[in-house]
Structures are given as structure tokens and as C-alpha cells.
């Protein structure tokens, strides 16, 4: 115990350079654990976004693109799917349910999705959870809207509020559908999926707002909201649809049929498989990030080694005095080991605290802008292992200055010529 006290008191002498070493270790631990945390949470967020859907069908496109725009609302569709194709495939004996999705509008930065009331019945996420209403109910009339939890929180909406939808993903005044306001009739519970940041309306609502937009921009002949609601609002095309089959054994067969659909070019994907494929691709970047973080940790440890080596000369007298009062030669080595262990352990603790502080601060920002939900957890086994490796490495590195000091203390005795 005395040795530890001596080590700490001696370290206090060099507190400035050692604090810098502690800080750099803390930064590298922060980086390592931060990267580890983010990649694990991101993966969980992606995997938990959709479940119990057997196929997603859209216009012919790469599987990852179709998955990203239809479920994660990232990116855009290459083309639309005709409503006829949707109805034809839905009518197959094999298909149990099929829910249409129509994208392309937004509301103050949040995506608007047109669908039907089946969406609330068949969309599942995480471990077989279905959508629950915090308040209200699904849309009934043409201009009803249901909003996700984050939309309500961010824009302070309540039931009965009127909202204007915009054309495209971000629009100026001329691209607002301001002649046809929608009324909020339902607010969903938090799901930690992109649904939280979506405004859901009926397919008929999407048709109504575009009824005088057929040329691609607002037409001079305006059709009022009431008139539009009475017109036949059967959609001609949708962006994509999700479906479930009666028997999962036939998923591959149905997928092939849809991919070879003669009337228009379609792609059908199995969400689970495409997610796995997406993650395999991203996984390579994850590994590179971890390698970079490990290199940063090595840099921090090298900084500590430098500090120990450069102060060796000053400490010769200190070692000589300790030897004189009865310390054994190997105590010198142990002193150095204790000092570097102390620095690394303090650095790790500081790093974790900084990580928690930063995570708590940016949690809501990242959730709103990237959809990834960061949870502040105590370190898991893998992360504890990282700590242990850091401490062990520091002990090993400290052997270098320790051994040099050991040899010198044998030669010097009390007559230290500095």
C-alpha cells in the first residue's frame, strides 16, 4: 500500500504532463467506445424497424435502394408501381395481405406517406410489435392524417390541428398544397423507427392534393378541396407495397414471379435478407473505424510512454533516495507500472464519463436527424475487454522506463550526478 501512496504522490509532482496523458487516453477510449456504441445501436435500430413482412415490392431497382426508400424513407424511388400491378399481385392466392405505400410529399421536413388503414394492422416492428395509437384513430375521410410520435413532439401538434403538405422533400411556397389542408386525427406511440417521423395519410388524400398537379406543377385551373374529395380518387400508381404470404415456403417462388412480371419491371425483396446484405456491406466500414480507434488508443499510450521516459532523468535522485531507505531494486519497476496503471485507469473512467455526457446530449439530435436511437448503457463485455487490454498494454509499455530506471538505480547509489 505504501508503494501505491508513494507512486501517487510522486505522480502529483508531474501532474501537468500526466494530466495531459490522462486526457489523451480518455479521448481515445471515448473514440473507441463511442464508435462501438454507435455501430451496435445503429444496427439494432435498422433491424428493429420492420418485422413480419415477407416481401416488399417496388419498381425495378437495387434491393438496398428499395429497402431504404420504402421502409427507412432514405433516398427516392426510381419509378412507380401501377395500381393495377398491385391489385393483380394482391389477388394471388398465395398473398395474405398487401399494403400500398405512396411517397413523394413532405411536411416541414417530415416525410408524408400515403397508405390505407391496413397499414396499421399489418406493419410490425422490433419483436412483433404493432403500431399503437397514443391518441385518436386511423384516417377515415380523405383529408385525415395520422402523425408519428416525433412529429407531434417536434412541432407541438395535437389532435384536430390542421397541417399543409408540401410537394417533394423540401418545398417553397409555390410547392405547398395549401388549398387542401389535412386534419390530424391520430398520433402514434413512440416506436423508435422511421414511423415516428412520418405523416400518414390515405391514398385518396395523396390523389386529391395532386389532382390539379398533373403536369408536374400547380395547374392554373384550381380544384377546391371539397370538389376534389368528391371526385373519383382511385390511385393510378403507388410507390411500393409490402406483403405477407400464406405460407413462407413460397416466398422465393413469389419473389421470382414478381421479378419476372411481364407487364412492368418490378423488384421484390425479402426485407430480412436485404437488411443482412446491407449490414454486411457496412460491416467493412465498421471494422475500419474500429482499427482507426485502436490506433488512436496506441497513440495515447505512446504519449504516456514519452512522458515517463522524458522524466526519467529527473527521477534518478528520487530513485536513489528510495533505494537508500530500503526499497528493493524491483520496487523501482513496480513504481513505474503503478504510475502508468493509475494513468490509464483514470483515463478510462474519464473517457466513459465523457462518453455518457456526450451521448446524453446528442441523443435527441441524432434520433431526429438520422433515426438512430442511442441508448446510454453500462459497458458490455466487449468494451470491458478493451479497458483491460489498455491497462495491460500500459503495464507492458511501462516496463521500458521501469527497466531503465532499475538498471540506473543499481549503478548510481546515492552519488547521483545530475
Amino acid at each position: 500500500m505504501k508503494l501505491l501512496t508513494i507512486a501517487i504522490k510522486s505522480a502529483w509532482n508531474r501532474k501537468i504532463s500526466l494530466s495531459l496523458a490522462i486526457f489523451s487516453i480518455a479521448m481515445s477510449i471515448l473514440l473507441l467506445l463511442g464508435v462501438d456504441n454507435i455501430r451496435k445501436q445503429a444496427k439494432n435500430t435498422f433491424i428493429n424497424t420492420i418485422s413480419q413482412t415477407d416481401l416488399i415490392v417496388g419498381a425495378r431497382s437495387s434491393p438496398v435502394n428499395l429497402l431504404l426508400y420504402s421502409i427507412f424513407h432514405i433516398g427516392s424511388a426510381t419509378n412507380n408501381v401501377s395500381y393495377k400491378a398491385y391489385q393483380h399481385i394482391k389477388a394471388q392466392k398465395n398473398v395474405k395481405w398487401a399494403v400500398p405505400l405512396s411517397l413523394g410529399d413532405s411536411h416541414r421536413g417530415f416525410r408524408v406517406m400515403g397508405t390505407n388503414s391496413d397499414y396499421f394492422r399489418y406493419y410490425h416492428y422490433a419483436n412483433e410489435q404493432s403500431l399503437q395509437f397514443q391518441q385518436g384513430f386511423p384516417f377515415i375521410t380523405v383529408y385525415d392524417a395520422v402523425i408519428g410520435y416525433d412529429v407531434a413532439q417536434a412541432l407541438h401538434y395535437k389532435l384536430g390541428d390542421e397541417i399543409i403538405l408540401s410537394h417533394g422533400l423540401a418545398a417553397l411556397k409555390q410547392a405547398q398544397h395549401d388549398d387542401k389542408p389535412f386534419r390530424i386525427v391520430g398520433i402514434l406511440n413512440k416506436t423508435n423507427t422511421p414511423v415516428d417521423r412520418t405523416v400518414l395519410v390515405s391514398l385518396q388524400g395523396i390523389e386529391a392534393i395532386h389532382i390539379d398537379w398533373q403536369s408536374g406543377t400547380r395547374s392554373p385551373i384550381k380544384i377546391s378541396a371539397e370538389t376534389a374529395a368528391k371526385m373519383g380518387l382511385e390511385p393510378k400508381s403507388i410507390t411500393a407495397f409490402m406483403l405477407g404470404v400464406e405460407n413462407k415456403m413460397t416466398i422465393f417462388r413469389l419473389q421470382r414471379q414478381i421479378n419476372q412480371y411481364a407487364n412492368e419491371p418490378l423488384s421484390a425483396i425479402i426485407p430480412g435478407s436485404t437488411l443482412a446484405y446491407l449490414w454486411q456491406t457496412i460491416g467493412q466500414f465498421e471494422q475500419i473505424l474500429m482499427v482507426v480507434s485502436a490506433l488512436v488508443l496506441m497513440t495515447g499510450l505512446m504519449g504516456l510512454l514519452t512522458t515517463l521516459l522524458t522524466t526519467l532523468n529527473e527521477r534518478r535522485r528520487e530513485m536513489a533516495v528510495l533505494r537508500a531507505v530500503g526499497a528493493h531494486a524491483y520496487h523501482v519497476i513496480i513504481l513505474f507500472m503503478l504510475e502508468s496503471m493509475f494513468v490509464v485507469v483514470t483515463g478510462c473512467l474519464l473517457g466513459i464519463m465523457l462518453l455518457y455526457a456526450i451521448l446524453t446530449t446528442v441523443q435527441s439530435f441524432i434520433a431526429n436527424n438520422y433515426g438512430i436511437h442511442l441508448v446510454v448503457n453500462p459497458p458490455d463485455t466487449q468494451q470491458l475487454l478493451i479497458f483491460l487490454i489498455a491497462v495491460l498494454l500500459s503495464i507492458l509499455l511501462s516496463l521500458i522506463p521501469g527497466f531503465i530506471a532499475y538498471k540506473r538505480s543499481l549503478q548510481d547509489g546515492l552519488m547521483v550526478k545530475i
Partner: protein, 197 residues
């Protein structure tokens, strides 16, 4: 002096203990649930095809017709389509119903639970997942595992051994809904020396 050495030993101990516990949680190699571990039969994908169904038999049946038609004629094209759909018929092998088996294959994930894959289709070759023409119904097995025994996403691209009781499910109707399934399966990864490339 003794205390220091004890500190160091404690540290090393913790490290070793952590390593061991890591290895235990990482490997799911013991099929604990299957009662008759010794009687797991390793089968091949050909065992999933009904014995009576063979390519040679079908081709032999149509051989005379093939020979009688000229090349590139539309009738020959139609005949080939007919033959393909019959080959495609994919009858199941009823003899292996309820047997405890072990079969190897690749995973096309369907459902996840807590980040692990707990329901998937097992297929004979990789690439059946995305848009390569799919294997027929008698070359696909629907596998479900207990929610804590799923396979990690990172491990799901390698060939795996799946063991459990295989069952024929569903009735054969005009859309061919019968198929193989294994519930409560155990999954093991292929080891390096088992893969012969």
C-alpha cells in the same frame, strides 16, 4: 512487495476470466435441446426430394416426343416448358417426416429477435437470397429457433449446420403449399476444415 504481486496476479486472473466468459457466450455449439443427440442423422439436400421423382425418369418419359419434333419448333419449346414445370413439381420426401436430422446450407433471413436471426429459410447455395432464380420448395427448409438461440447477423453469411426435427407441413394444394420446416433448431457454424473449397 507481496501485495504488489497479488495485485498483478488479480489483474491477470480477471483478464483470463473475461476471455473465457467471452468464448462461452460466443459459441453456441452444443445442441442441448435435442433429446437424441446420438441419433441425429446427417442428410443431404437430395434426401429432401421424393425418391420416386428423378430427372432421368421424366426425361425418359418424354424422350420419344423430343426426338420426334424438330429443333427450334414452337412445339418443342412448349414441350420443354411442360417438362420443366414437371421437374419443378418438387414433391416432398414423406419418409423423413419427424426425423431428427442435421443438414448444412445457407441462410436467407426472415425474422430477427434482439438482433439475432430467429427465423430463416435454409437453402443449398448462397445467393438464393436476393434475386437469383430460387430453389424449388423441396430444396428449402423453413427454420425457426428459440428466441435466445438465434444466429448473429455477422455469422449468417457462412454455411451452417442446422439440427432438429424436420417436419412436412401444410397440405399440397394447387399452389403447392406443403414444405419442410424445423422448429426449435440448433445452429452451428461450419468450421474451417469442414469447408472443402
Amino acid at each position: 512487495m507481496n501485495l504488489k504481486i497479488i495485485y498483478l496476479l488479480l489483474l491477470l486472473f480477471t483478464l483470463v476470466a473475461c476471455e473465457n466468459s467471452n468464448q462461452d457466450t460466443a459459441s453456441e455449439t452444443s445442441p442441448k435441446e435435442t433429446p437424441q443427440v446420438e441419433s441425429l442423422t446427417t442428410i443431404d439436400w437430395d434426401n429432401l426430394i421424393a425418391a420416386s421423382h428423378s430427372e432421368e425418369a421424366i426425361l425418359a418419359k418424354y424422350q420419344k416426343q423430343i426426338d420426334s419434333l424438330e429443333e427450334d419448333s414452337p412445339e418443342l419449346g412448349e414441350l420443354y416448358s411442360k417438362i420443366y414445370s414437371e421437374l419443378d413439381n418438387a414433391p416432398l420426401n414423406k419418409a423423413i417426416h419427424n426425423k431428427w436430422i442435421k443438414i448444412s446450407g445457407f441462410i436467407a433471413p426472415l425474422s430477427y429477435h434482439s438482433g439475432n436471426i430467429t427465423e430463416f429459410l435454409l437453402v443449398p447455395y448462397f445467393g438464393a437470397c436476393i434475386h437469383v432464380p430460387a430453389p424449388p420448395v423441396n430444396q428449402t427448409v423453413l427454420v425457426k429457433t428459440a428466441s435466445d438461440k438465434g444466429i448473429k447477423l455477422e455469422d449468417s453469411f457462412e454455411p451452417v449446420w442446422v439440427s432438429g426435427q424436420i417436419q412436412l407441413e401444410g397440405k399440397k394444394t394447387d399452389i403447392g403449399t406443403a414444405g419442410y420446416s424445423i422448429k426449435n433448431a440448433n445452429i452451428e457454424l461450419y468450421t474451417e476444415d469442414q469447408i472443402n473449397l
